[in-house]
């Protein structure tokens, strides 16, 4: 294994103490002088036309400065999806439309001198709705006579299937081989339908944005965003303001998980400030975050597999995914695509395969990016189906995965076929230690002692174990770009400016470690500033598991150029050829003579003494492949045969993310993803009434786990070396969320022999199933 001095070390997160003391500032922590407070009026109807909106009573209220609505805000179609340009999501959204399409759609916005006045003004806006028939069910929405959500000039920015006249927000189709022949040749065929519901990211920091005009009259927006550069571009377009007049600053972010890869609030604060000249503040309540922002797309997946008995080969596979886009098509195409593209290459030896996906509009909240991005829904299906197949074959599921998963030097036709809004990119796997992940995970969970044994720690409680193997990607190849800028200071320290967006993941720290490794200095010599569209170079932002792999390589290239310049100056100082010099512990040294100069001496020389210049560099990076990290995840569960309650006893993840740049942060990513996965497997989901109104809009009703609910979680980091990544790194942010649902469902089956094809697997559902199977035990 390569020896590293700064990476592959669990360096303390560089902003951790600042955050723990509360010194670090989040969006809502910034002061504004004499701001306007913004409040939004939301639709109470799932589907309605606004016949009339009368703001006069609200406007007349003392302290109300403006009411914004369709009558005074130009109708500019756009997507709120914070994606690269041109966005693969349809342009189907306007700030304030004449039509509302879900309970929580924006109707108007008040700007007032205080939050209380703004709140009062909302009540005085007179809106006359003509309620329209609504549709909530995905299959209903596709029927010819279903109500249509988008009937005006909505359009797709890129040439992709988009047909709002059929409520079709996106469609993906892809096949190779001859699936019909494959199924005909199979010894047995297994077909099931798997369902996953609407889910909430619920980052602890509610979405927030502020705006003010700077001394040049430019619009400055501080926002809790994962995508500051996309936020600037989309805000400029929506408001019709030249992009050069807008600056977006990302301060500390209180988590995102995809929920802040969405340009929702920036145009609103921008609008209020640009129109009034006053600073403005828009901070959502927890309730608003839950009903009016973004969600994980509901999905229904039909998975059909044909299997050859003699060796267990899957000879044909058909995956049909139906996805609920909700009222707008944010990420409707790309999440859907990822359901196939991030799952199917894992079992790359299937000769006949078809993937078909449709994303449909309904009058429910809007889906968006959410950690896992479609793959999570896909693995709920694939991960259980593999377990079912292995059981049917009488084969250990660990052996099944080891026999059929993709390996180093291999490829999959899926990589080339499925990209993000266009064809994918061919790639060969350079690094895969999945076998070791499976073995070490199995050992940690006690697989062979527990599988099929149905241990009973108490007379009415039975245990089982289940597992899954999964992959994800690392950045979007040929599309995503990240860049970095560095300069040297007098004392031999360096500023590192990156557009990469640390939203709490620790990417500032990881990027500093990469620069420190190249320059062989302690990490605290690197001063990181991330994401300010005026001050940092471009980066697509924090999504698609990209920052370490993509922006990290930009930083490595940038630091290499800095190192070259340092050696050039040192060569002049030492009167030695630069090629002979190397860096060592913050010094440029000449191994031939043993002489050297410190970085501080180099800096002072280059800035003040001779042939002065600023040691500085910038570098950009795009990636040509998206190397998957791999994971094996194991659950041990205990089912209460009297109550139907399921408890996770132990959850083990063994992950291959290439070189873990910061092993402790890697574990943190996996552990956070695992607990969110467990949450949504066992208890959390959105519930709606028959009018499409969400019913559980706080942390009591939308149950979030606390310390009490924490099972034993074990994370094993299995090193590999990804030759295309910085110091061998791949990604780790998303992959950990793929396993909990299928692994737990498989473990429940192992315990009680009942399959659950739908999450959350609540005690009520288990209770009913136990009863139906005649294995419910009566309470004494």
């Amino acid at each position: 294994m390569t020896e590293f001095k700064r990476v592959r070390h669990s360096v303390e997160k560089i902003d951790a103490v600042s955050l723990a003391t509360g010194a670090a500032r989040f969006t809502d922590d910034f002061e504004l002088r004499d701001p306007l407070y913004l409040k939004i009026l939301y639709s109470p109807h799932a589907h309605a036309e606004i016949v009339d909106l009368d703001p006069s009573e609200a406007e007349a209220l003392d302290g109300v400065v403006a009411v914004f609505y369709y009558g005074n805000v130009p109708r500019v179609l756009h997507t709120t999806a914070g994606q690269g340009y041109p966005e693969p999501s349809p342009y189907d959204t306007v700030l304030f439309d004449r039509k509302v399409r879900f309970v929580g759609d924006r109707v108007a916005m008040v700007a007032a001198e205080s939050p209380e006045i703004a709140e009062e003004a909302l009540k005085r806006i007179r809106v006359t709705y003509r309620v329209l028939p609504a549709v909530f069910d995905m299959e209903e929405a596709l029927k010819p006579d279903a109500p249509k959500l988008h009937t005006d000039d909505e359009f797709a920015k890129i040439p992709v299937p988009y047909d709002p006249s059929r409520n079709l927000a996106a469609e993906v189709e892809f096949s190779y081989g001859d699936p019909a022949r494959g199924f005909a040749e199979a010894d047995f065929v297994i077909e099931h339908e798997y369902r996953t519901p609407y889910m909430s990211h619920s980052a602890l920091e509610p979405h927030a944005a502020l705006a003010y005009l700077d001394e040049q009259g430019r619009l400055v927006i501080i926002s809790s965003t994962q995508v500051p550069f996309h936020a600037r571009r989309i805000t400029a377009m929506v408001l019709g303001i030249p992009l050069r007049k807008i600056r977006v600053i990302k301060p500390r972010i209180g988590g995102g998980f995809g929920g802040k890869q969405e340009v929702l609030l920036e145009p609103l604060v921008g609008l209020a400030t640009w129109r009034t000249g006053r600073p403005s503040r828009l901070v959502l309540s927890r309730e608003e975050v839950l009903f009016a922002t973004r969600t994980r797309h509901e999905m229904k997946i039909r998975l059909k597999t044909g299997v050859r008995r003699k060796d267990g080969a899957i000879v044909a596979l058909e995956m049909d995914a139906l996805m609920n886009a909700g009222a707008y098509g944010s990420h409707a195409l790309t999440v859907l695509t990822n359901t196939g593209s991030k799952t199917l290459p894992l079992l790359n030896k299937i000769p006949h395969l078809r993937f078909h996906g449709r994303s449909v509009y309904t009058n429910l909240p809007v889906g968006g990016a959410y950690r896992g991005y479609g793959a999570t829904q896909g693995y709920f299906a694939l991960g259980q189906q593999v377990d079912i197949i292995a059981r049917e074959l009488g084969m250990d599921v660990l052996e099944f995965y080891k026999r059929w998963h993709i390996r180093e030097g291999e490829t999959s036709e899926v990589f080339k076929a499925l990209g993000e809004g266009r064809e994918g990119v061919e790639q060969v796997i350079h690094s895969c230690r999945l076998d070791e992940c499976i073995d070490r995970g199995a050992e940690a969970i006690g697989w062979y002692e527990k599988r099929g044994k149905r241990h009973r720690p108490a007379p009415h409680r039975v245990r089982g174990v289940g597992m899954i193997a999964a992959m994800q990607g690392s950045a979007i190849p040929e599309i995503d770009m990240g860049s970095a800028y560095m300069k040297m200071n007098d004392d031999g320290s360096f500023n590192l400016h990156v557009g990469a967006t640390d939203l709490g993941t620790g990417s500032d720290t990881v990027l500093a470690q990469i620069a420190a490794e190249v320059l062989d200095i302690p990490v605290d010599r690197i001063i990181v500033r991330s994401s300010d569209t005026d001050l940092t170079p471009f980066d697509v932002g924090a999504y698609a598991s990209s920052t370490t792999y993509l922006s990290g390589e930009a930083v490595r290239k940038c630091a290499l150029e800095i190192r070259r310049q340092i050696l050039q100056v040192a060569a002049e100082m030492l009167q030695a050829p630069a090629e002979r010099l190397s860096v060592e512990e913050g010094r440029a040294v000449d191994p031939a003579t043993g002489q050297g100069v410190s970085y501080e001496e180099v800096a002072l020389y280059s800035l003040y003494q001779r042939n002065q210049f600023q040691i500085q560099a910038t570098a950009s990076h795009i990636v040509h492949e998206s190397p998957p990290p791999f994971i094996a995840q194991f659950a041990e569960v205990e089912v209460d045969l009297q109550t139907g309650e399921v408890a996770v006893v132990h959850f083990v993840s063994a992950v291959d993310c290439g070189t873990p740049i910061n092993p402790r942060l890697v574990e943190g990513q996996v552990e956070g993803a695992v607990l969110d996965g467990i949450t949504h497997t066992l208890f959390a989901e959105y519930r709606f009434d028959d009018k499409g109104r969400p019913l559980n809009l706080n942390f009591e009703d939308y149950k979030m786990p606390t310390f009490r609910d924490l099972p034993k979680i074990t994370t094993i980091v299995v090193d590999s070396y990804e030759e295309t990544g910085p110091f061998g790194a791949k990604s780790v942010a998303e992959i950990g969320i793929n396993g909990p649902a299928p692994a737990i469902a498989n473990a429940i089956y192992d315990a009680i022999g009942i399959r659950f094809f739908e999450i959350p697997i609540t005690p009520e559902k288990v209770f009913r199933a136990l009863k139906a199977h005649g294995i419910l035990e009566s309470t004494p």
Binding site: E12, G22, G254, E667, V674, N698, T706
Partner: protein, 155 residues
């Protein structure tokens, strides 16, 4: 209305609307280390020590909190002089986005004051009112254990 608040050892004469919560009064007077996460007293981000006990400040009427010692995360330690709890959480990797951390810091302080050598059950119980969406709580438990060790030694 007006009231006297004893915040982090200093006395503040503050004006506030009668219905204001302690959270609103603290945040609007610059104590932004107290975070606003949920409005319902369910997430713990706004926790402060009131008379030495952790409370969700969004559930406390400001008018009822006058003339009593209030301690926030900044009152326990600053960037230059972090409290051992803050340092331990940082070192353990317990701080990801950090939005929940100031609240967890004050609850941990209250716990360790009373129970210098807490069992895992006691830690879980003491921190049960705090939601963290990033860490899965694993590293926070480690951080609190580390803090307990450190603090014991320092005392």
């Amino acid at each position: 209305m007006k009231g006297r608040f004893l915040i982090n050892g200093e006395t503040w004469e503050l004006e506030f609307p009668p219905e204001a919560t302690l959270l609103e009064v603290l945040r609007s007077n610059g104590f932004t280390e107290v975070k606003h996460g949920c409005d319902d007293g369910l997430c713990g981000a706004c926790a402060v020590l009131l008379n030495g006990k952790p409370v969700p400040s969004c559930q406390v009427l400001a008018a009822t909190a006058t003339d009593q010692p209030i301690v926030t995360a900044q009152g326990l330690g600053t960037v230059h002089r972090p409290h051992p709890i803050q340092k331990a959480l940082a070192e353990a990797g317990a701080v990801q986005c950090g939005f929940c951390t100031p609240g967890i810091v004050v609850s941990t302080y209250a716990l360790l004051q009373k129970t210098p050598d807490p069992t895992e059950e006691e830690i879980r119980h003491a921190l049960d009112g705090h939601i963290c969406r990033c860490t899965g709580y694993v590293k926070i438990l480690e951080g609190v254990r580390l803090a307990a060790q450190r603090w014991k030694r320092a005392k």
